[in-house]
């Protein structure tokens, strides 16, 4: 996984609450681009998934861009940071939602809260979810709207967001997930080095619950 340290980029405001993973990555029956010839590939091929990002809002029925949607507007079409509302990424566990966002260049999302599974999916794909107080997110949304194209900096090393005026806001993140992002760690490889401990746990656990041992359908 690619490490995440510091990002300086344009931030797009999407001040909606409860943006769900169907919004971010619609199913084929809900996406005009996925229904086009060859459209199924955008659900399988990670390099093309960006086409399906926010498809119901980004594209009209014919698959043409909807000019009213923020990510179709200059300079937000080049945004790498998204500032949104509470409960971002709620709903389905589909990791394709994260791959869709990465597909359109998003590397960081700032919101007051996140769907739990989506949050975990982000940190396993170098996409930084930043939790900030609702009033802070509101202020950053206002700034991003008022000063389009002036970059924000998100610094995971120092754990701060720097707005276009140079004002900094600190954010918190669990140390383990921060480490995953900063190091780009292959989590599975790291866990496989602890097989002895895992096996010892399993032996003790199964000894107490013999009915689970080898049970199969």
């Amino acid at each position: 996984m690619q490490p995440f340290t510091v990002l300086t980029a344009i931030a797009a405001p999407l001040p909606w609450a409860d943006v769900n993973t169907d919004d971010i990555c619609p199913a084929p029956g809900a996406s005009s681009v996925a229904r086009k010839p060859g459209g199924r590939d955008i659900l399988r091929d990670r390099s093309r998934m960006g086409l399906n990002a926010f498809a119901a809002y980004r594209w009209d029925d014919n698959g043409d861009p909807n000019p009213a949607f923020v990510l179709n507007q200059e300079p937000f079409d080049r945004a790498q940071i998204l500032i949104s509302g509470e409960n971002f990424g709620c709903g389905s566990s589909r990791e394709m939602a994260v791959w869709c966002l990465i597909g359109i260049g998003i590397r960081c999302i700032i919101a007051p809260s996140f769907g739990d599974i989506f949050h975990n999916n982000c940190v396993r794909n170098s996409l930084l979810p930043v939790r900030l107080a609702p009033e802070t997110v509101h202020r950053l949304t206002t700034t991003a709207t008022a000063r389009p194209g002036v970059p924000f900096t998100v610094d995971l090393v120092e754990q701060v967001v720097v707005d276009p005026d140079g004002a900094t806001v600190a954010f918190a993140m669990g140390e383990y997930q921060r480490h995953l992002l900063l190091s780009g760690l292959d989590e599975t490889a790291a866990t496989l080095t602890r097989l002895e401990r895992i096996e010892a746990h399993e032996a003790a656990y199964t000894a107490e619950r013999p009915w689970l041992d080898g049970a199969q359908i």
């Binding site: 199913a27 029956g29 809900a30 566990s93 769907g115 975990n120 669990g174 989590e187 866990t191 689970l212």
Partner: protein, 466 residues
């Protein structure tokens, strides 16, 4: 005397292999369920890294999300590719696979409890958010992503931070045809879709104790709609009766040992939760969602609310957007709202009890003119049992389509979706914009209320029909 612990804490503690300073734990995973589509990336990642599935027998695979549920429609090549991929991946790894021709196949969250795969005290994961369903049997079960699944398959463990604990105690009177679906919709209406973020919810109280196991599955299924990653119900006699004799349930002396363990799991008296909510449901009415979030719900006798009366400016804006999308006006009685489609199915409401409740309403009636209605049983075994009781005839004679098992129209999949502007009474779990299809208008209801909508052509109080 040991510190009193919650059910959640007991299961969590039993699975901790290592604990990091920030609270993140390496947890042993007992079992995982997988299906086509979301598992494909995990197997690809395994292959790319030259890794193998560490414990194939801990995994159960079936097909549900992308498959066709009409036996007369030619299968789509894209969906079949996913199914073939999963079959090959399972064959290569030695994983049990309930494929298209297996009578036991079905929706993962129906199949697991049906086969006795899901048991109290187990830690179960699946790359689907509605894995919370399995908590109905007293398991700690939650959805994960495809990357996490790769980790689980390779190591039989997962790195997780413990959730905060929340107990939702439900009291009141729930009389058929009012059901578990109405309970969870009313609960969401009270607590909101953000209430459970970062939490694991334990459902407790008289309403839950009196609930049959399939109802508890419906309840825990939609815990994720409150933002919680898991929902759980303490195991009791209802749970043990459900499990007795299931294919993967313990038997003989193993049964006695398992039972003794299961009885030790419920939350101890005096155990502390991070948050406690007590909800008095009163004499619960059938519920119908009017908006685009599962907590935007009113009783069947209610009216579409006015954004002017919303609790905050943000809510008012969200309600206006929802009303616009749903093409509804404030003050409209829900019983004056007509439907175009009726979908009875999904991991929320596709079990035998659900189909019986719907058939009770449909019996001797006809689907209203202009309404397209379908029933999609949750598994092959549900379908077979329903047919043995003649439920398929009740539905077919009334003009319903009787389908084969799968997720179907719960989301706008390639085979089944609600057309733009159409209004659907759906027993599924999400009424999000575009969820059932681009421009689709979804109203979440119980199977009985969905059946009432099918035969009357609008939302109706099902209590007047049975």
């Amino acid at each position: 005397m040991a510190q009193p612990r919650t059910l959640y804490d007991k299961i969590w503690d039993a699975h901790v292999i290592d604990r990091l300073p920030d609270g993140t734990c390496l947890l042993a995973v007992d079992r995982q369920m997988i299906y086509e589509a979301s598992s494909a990336a995990a197997f690809t990642a395994l292959r790319d890294a030259h890794r193998t599935v560490r414990r194939p027998t801990a995994t159960l695979a079936t097909v549900d999300h992308t498959i066709a549920t009409r036996s007369d429609a030619p299968p789509r090549a894209g969906a079949l590719r996913f199914v073939d991929e999963l079959r090959d991946n399972c064959a290569g790894a030695g994983i049990a696979f309930l494929g298209l021709d297996d009578p036991r196949r079905g929706i993962v969250h129906v199949v697991g409890p049906e086969q006795g795969f899901t048991q109290p005290g187990l830690l179960i994961v699946c790359p689907d958010s509605h894995t919370s369903s399995h908590g109905a049997l007293g398991a700690l079960a939650f959805g994960i992503g495809s990357s996490e699944l790769e980790h689980v398959l390779a190591t039989q463990t997962i790195m997780q931070k413990p959730s905060r604990t929340m107990r939702v105690t439900l009291t009141g009177t729930v009389t058929a045809p009012v059901s578990a679906k109405d309970v969870i919709l009313a609960t969401l209406g009270r607590i909101g879709v953000g209430a459970g973020i970062g939490h694991a919810i334990e459902f407790a109280g008289d309403v839950v104790r009196a609930m049959p196991l399939p109802g508890r599955l419906t309840l825990c299924n939609m815990a994720v709609e409150a933002g919680a990653r898991s929902g759980i119900v303490a195991p009791d006699e209802v749970t043990y009766e459900w499990l007795r004799g299931r294919p993967m349930s313990p038997s003989g002396e193993h049964w006695d040992a398992a039972l003794a363990y299961w009885r030790s799991l419920p939350t101890d008296d005096g155990a502390a939760f991070d948050r406690e909510l007590a909800i008095e449901l009163g004499h619960l009415d059938p519920q119908v969602t009017w908006g685009t979030s599962p907590d935007e719900v009113v009783p069947i006798g209610g009216r579409v609310p006015d954004p002017a009366g919303a609790p905050s400016p943000q809510k008012a804006a969200a309600w206006r957007r929802a009303l616009d999308y749903m093409d509804l006006r404030p003050g409209t009685a829900l019983t004056d709202v007509g439907v175009d489609r009726v979908f009875i199915g999904s991991c929320t409401n596709s079990r035998l009890d659900d189909l019986r409740a719907a058939a009770d309403v449909v019996h001797g009636r006809r689907v209203a003119d202009g309404v397209h209605a379908m029933v999609v049983p949750g598994s092959g075994l549900v379908k077979k049992a329903a047919e043995a009781e003649g439920l398929d005839r009740v539905f077919r004679e009334a003009g319903f389509e009787w389908r084969t098992p799968g997720c179907s129209m719960c989301f706008g999949n390639a085979h089944d979706h609600v057309a733009a502007g159409q209004r659907c009474a759906s027993t599924s779990n999400r009424n999000f914009e575009n969820r059932q299809g681009r421009g689709a208008r979804t109203h979440l209801v119980s199977p009985a209320t969905a059946a009432a909508a099918a035969v009357t052509g609008r939302f109706a109080d099902v209590r007047e029909l049975v």
